[in-house]
Symmetry: C2
Subunit: 132 residues, 2 copies
């Protein structure tokens, strides 16, 4: 078995696609349009794991993101550049944080919020995440 995608329901497919392209460097890989919903798969070029965005055509009210789903995480060599791209979307300013564990760096990261309110963790390729 293998994990191959994470799915989020979104209100406005084009708004979400633009956000994930501009901040996270994802590209549309395939789109499947059905009567009542559309599935959009985004990938990083050359990589297999996908973000699946589902748009239900008759949905108008915002989705309830609950308090259980945590986040999807990305790793990058340039955390500051990713943060700059995030802020360039007009998002509320967030800052880079670090988490240590047993005296060593576990991770350096920030949390972004996508257009539907889902949290996205962006980690620097350091600490526990240096080998990804």
């Amino acid at each position: 078995m293998k994990m191959i995608h994470s799915c989020l329901r979104v209100l406005d497919l084009e708004r979400s696609k633009t956000f994930y392209e501009e901040v996270f460097e994802l590209k549309e890989y395939s789109r499947h349009i059905f009567d009542s919903f559309t599935l959009l798969y985004l990938r990083h070029p050359g990589l297999e794991f996908e973000l699946e965005l589902t748009a239900n055509h008759d949905r108008e009210e915002p989705y309830d993101t609950g308090d259980g789903y945590g986040h999807l995480a990305f790793v990058t060599d340039d955390l500051e550049a990713a943060l700059a791209r995030y802020h360039a979307t007009g998002a509320e300013e967030v800052s880079i944080k670090s988490l240590d564990h047993q005296g060593a760096l576990l991770g350096r990261f920030f949390f972004a919020t996508d257009p539907d309110g889902y949290k996205i963790e962006v980690l620097s390729r350091e600490g526990r995440f240096s080998d990804f």
Copy 2:
């Protein structure tokens, strides 16, 4: 950038770990215990993408899974065996479904529900998902 994990908050780390091991063949890769929370990373041996389970130590009430988060998806060569493993946990019976798009098979799959209520899609390595 690369997607490296999906995080879910869970009430009972050992219950969730057992579920993901038994049904999805994940294994504990690392565990980081902090005062107020524990992070558990699960992987398929030889693969990099992780399921991160977060347990907040003082959390007692069930998490609200909302209606926005969709699912994490797995692919397998043997969908029937995965379904049998899922049913062996005592879960409510579900059936395998297919989705066609433009006259061709898009996917053959079932949806499992994890101990905290999160949906997990299990896809057969067929149709759109034959090359994963």
